[in-house]
């Protein structure tokens, strides 16, 4: 009787790349619901565009690189990149903006570096950064959140579709009436005009803690992140360190001068904080490898995010913080190798 010849180990665990990636997608559902509830269905259009473009680019590049298309397309990694990018963009984004960012993310940031597992930069954030410098106006214009917009009806699906397809509103509708700066952006602008935080947060864009709608969206995002932690798809090191890196400087400066510095709670629930903490900084491919390294990596992202938010030219700094720390990963990895069993004490 002849038997199969396999190398040990003969068993494998249940986790696989596609399963992990799918879980990440499921975990984004609460955040998506929040975004749609407060900012309308535009985000869904973003996701559709990004997904189609990402999968198309992925298939094309895999074909050119002579890699098994079926195997890699079904790993869901391109889809995760697409959805993360789409959810970072304003819900009113013309389709070509989304498409440009996605092409850059998949073709340049991912495949030119060697594809899955080899990219130095987080593809979604690389795409986002390119859009931020290429289409600054589109990237700054967020629709007014539910409860603030003068007439929710006016921003109908048809209007959104038209804007999405052409980049312009119908003649009788003014874009400015429906869009505004995000709370982070608004804080930055108004602080520049010598107004105090107490005056700023009194505005209609602001809710109980942070921006209206944003506080709920961030909470929902954190919910999904918590589930990823529970499922052990991500580990605690990066999220915790990033929150510390963001909140400790925020707290210190808030105590020193609350009039010109938003509270740590505001930072916690503003902009892309939770998306960054749980979904973007935790992308394993472009993060540091060891536990100690991940603490440093997360801390760096948190601090840089705070620095950009507070002193930079852009309202939010997560994308730049992640990209900068991506660059530091080889260095971090080199100096944070864990001590090997049986070597020293």
């Amino acid at each position: 009787m002849k038997f199969a010849n396999n190398a040990a180990p003969h068993w494998r665990g249940a986790e696989s790349v596609p399963v992990l990636m799918r879980q990440v997608l499921y975990a984004l559902v609460p955040a998506l619901i929040g975004l749609v509830w407060f900012f309308g269905s535009g985000i869904i259009l973003n996701i559709l565009v990004a997904a189609v473009v990402a999968l198309g680019c992925e298939a094309l590049v895999l074909r050119i690189r002579k890699r098994p298309v079926g195997l890699f397309i079904s790993d869901y990694s391109a889809l995760v990149t697409a959805v993360l990018l789409a959810m970072s963009l304003p819900p009113l984004t013309p389709w070509w903006v989304t498409a440009t960012g996605t092409v850059f993310a998949i073709v340049f940031a991912k495949h030119l570096y060697g594809g899955l597992g080899h990219n130095v930069f987080n593809p979604a954030m690389a795409g986002y950064a390119v859009l931020l410098v290429s289409f600054p106006e589109d990237m700054a214009a967020w629709p007014l959140p539910r409860g603030v917009a003068p007439d929710q009806q006016a921003l109908s699906l048809l209007t959104v579709l038209q804007y999405w397809a052409t980049g312009a509103m119908p003649i009788d509708v003014s874009v400015d009436a429906f869009t505004a700066a995000t709370p982070l952006n608004s804080v930055k602008g108004q602080l520049g005009m010598m107004r105090t935080m107490q005056e700023i947060v009194g505005g209609p864009l602001f809710g109980n803690i942070a921006g209206r709608g944003w506080e709920w969206i961030n909470t929902a995002t954190a919910l999904g992140g918590g589930w990823l932690l529970y499922r052990r798809i991500i580990r605690w090191q990066i999220p915790t360190a990033m929150l510390i890196g963001l909140l400790v400087p925020a707290l210190v400066l808030y105590i020193v001068d609350p009039a010109t510095h938003p509270s740590p709670a505001f930072h916690l629930l503003s902009g892309g904080t939770m998306l960054g903490v749980f979904f973007i900084a935790t992308d394993p491919v472009s993060a540091a490898a060891s536990n100690r390294g991940r603490l440093i990596y997360g801390l760096g992202i948190g601090i840089i995010t705070y620095v950009v938010r507070n002193w930079g030219a852009y309202p939010d700094g997560i994308a730049f913080a992640v990209l900068l720390m991506n660059l530091a990963v080889p260095l971090i990895d080199r100096y944070t190798r864990p001590r090997i069993y049986g070597h020293g004490t």
Partner: protein
């Protein structure tokens, strides 16, 4: 080390390792079955790390049960080998033996008779604890006892650490799935294990013995506790290890229990600990208590590919095919034959291989129990492998280095410290066969060292030869010069001879080898 621990509380889980389904189906099916002698026994002469035993029988000789058929050389970690039952030696030849290499080994082939006639050379020791430690070690080597956990390290050598041993740990933690041979042993023969432990404590001059069992082995735990209570020896206590893999690795177990790390290149006794598998300890007890050397062992025959999974006490040398037949034969689902567990066991190409002292489990797997053939994906650096690694390596980094391969970096990042437990493979979501890659890289590293060593030696010899030639040259010219001087000093002026000689000296320039 807490003295006299009798609590059933398991030790805390460490950061490394993986939790595996235990699948101890053989243990659930009942007691240890004793298998009668098969039609032919193939007893390999090398069943230990180190040098093989030297045969002392010829084809045609009649041997008795327990009679030595090969003796231990006095060097190189040798141990004796014995006839598992009475019968006739039919051949002394190379036979295929199980081993990762898949090669053959010199073996004594015995055709058993049904008499099971015992060899009279070994008798039970009425008072084994009265023997001196060197005598105990001598007897253990004589009895052919090696580490039955699979390492095959001569037990006597492990019992000779010098002074300063604080604890003897009996390893009953079978952390691999399926394997339940030690579990069955502890349930049925804990008293025997404790007798062996007492002998070992005497050999080690040590006062503490910890019997390590796994948290999910309730029956074995109860049996051990009962035996400890019955014996009333307060040097012996039980310690419960959490059920995870690889808790039963020697270094891992020592780390779990004592918190101490055995340094790379060191041995457990450096941290005052000696670790012995419970099966080994029982074999020691059998020799001193019943005069029976190591001629049989308990093997778990299990998996969905075998009819009646069971723990079988089987003679060393029994063909695995006969053993599987005894355990109900193959089912239609049988697809793979593995010696050992699913994590570290190796595939056997066929079943005409004998049971050796290292055979703790024969896993007859169906297709689903084997590694499902899935496509390898690129590493996504998730770091789960580094979390699971008991040697705290970073397998993801080693993998990248092994691709080069960059041997210098592999060595500095601990390739040699990999224990090949397979945890990294198990947790890898990209299905990368990390362990195989590391075994391959280790081989390459070893070859690299060898080439470097050879080159260094060649250089050394080349330089030595250069010096030798130079010396010879110098001696020759000195001798010629001496002759010239002698002739000159003698005052007999043979102008022609002197001229010739001077010519010869001149023509012999230094560095000219001819």
């Amino acid at each position: 080390m807490s003295n006299g621990r009798t609590s059933n509380q398991a030790l805390p889980l460490p950061a490394w390792g993986v939790r595996l389904e235990s699948r101890k189906i053989a243990a659930e099916t009942g007691p240890i079955n004793k298998m009668p002698p098969p039609g032919e026994l193939i007893v390999a002469l090398k069943q230990n790390v180190g040098v093989p035993a030297e045969p002392i029988v010829q084809p045609g000789d009649r041997v008795l049960k327990g009679q030595p058929i090969a003796t231990a050389p006095r060097w190189g970690l040798g141990v004796a080998v014995h006839a598992p039952t009475s019968g006739t030696v039919t051949a002394l030849e190379e036979r295929p033996i199980p081993g990762a290499g898949g090669g053959t080994g010199e073996s004594v082939v015995i055709e058993p008779d049904s008499k099971e006639e015992r060899y009279a050379g070994y008798v039970a020791q009425p008072n084994p604890l009265g023997l001196s430690p060197p005598q105990i070690r001598n007897d253990i080597t004589e009895a052919g006892i090696v580490g039955l956990g699979g390492a095959l390290f001569p037990t006597a050598t492990k019992l000779n650490p010098g002074s300063g041993i604080q604890a003897l740990i009996l390893n009953g933690v079978e952390c691999e799935p399926y394997i339940s041979a030690d579990n069955a042993l502890l349930i049925e023969r804990s008293d025997q294990v404790l007798l062996g432990a007492a002998v070992m404590l005497r050999a080690l001059d040590c006062d503490e013995c910890l019997v390590a069992v796994k948290a999910d082995m309730a029956e074995a735990r109860a049996a051990v506790q009962e035996a400890i209570d019955a014996l009333g020896d307060d040097r012996i206590s039980m310690v419960v290890v959490p059920a995870f893999y690889p808790a039963g690795g020697e270094r891992q177990l020592i780390e779990l229990i004592t918190g101490k790390e055995v340094q790379a290149g060191g041995l457990p006794w450096d941290v005052g600990v000696v670790c012995q598998n419970v099966g080994t300890v029982a074999a020691v007890a059998k020799f001193f208590g019943a005069g029976e050397p190591l001629i049989s062992r308990i093997v778990t025959v299990t998996g969905n590919g075998v009819g009646a999974p069971a723990n079988v006490e089987v003679m060393i040398g029994t063909p695995i095919g006969d053993l599987v037949e005894f355990a109900g034969g193959y089912t239609d689902a049988a697809a793979g034959l593995v010696m050992g567990g699913p994590m570290m066991g190796f595939s056997l190409p066929h079943d005409q291989l004998p049971v050796t002292k290292a055979t703790n489990c024969i896993l007859v797997a169906d297709q689903a129990e084997l590694d499902p053939s899935v496509r390898e994906m690129p590493c996504i650096r998730c770091g789960e492998c580094a979390r699971a690694c008991p040697a705290t390596l970073m397998p993801q980094q080693l993998l990248a280095l092994a691709r080069g391969p960059d041997y210098a970096a592999l060595e500095s990042q601990g390739l040699q410290d990999c224990i090949e437990c397979g945890c990294c493979d198990y947790v890898c979501p990209s299905y990368i066969p990390l362990t195989s890659r590391f075994i391959e890289a280790k081989q390459g590293l070893w070859e690299n060292h060898l080439v470097a060593q050879r080159s260094e030696r060649a250089l050394h010899r080349y330089e030595a030869r250069g010096k030798r030639l130079e010396r010879r040259e110098r001696d020759r010219s000195n001798e010629l010069q001496r002759q010239v001087d002698e002739i000159g000093a003698a005052g007999e002026i043979d102008a022609e001879a002197l001229r010739q000689l001077k010519q010869r000296v001149k023509s012999k320039k230094p560095g000219d080898n001819t």
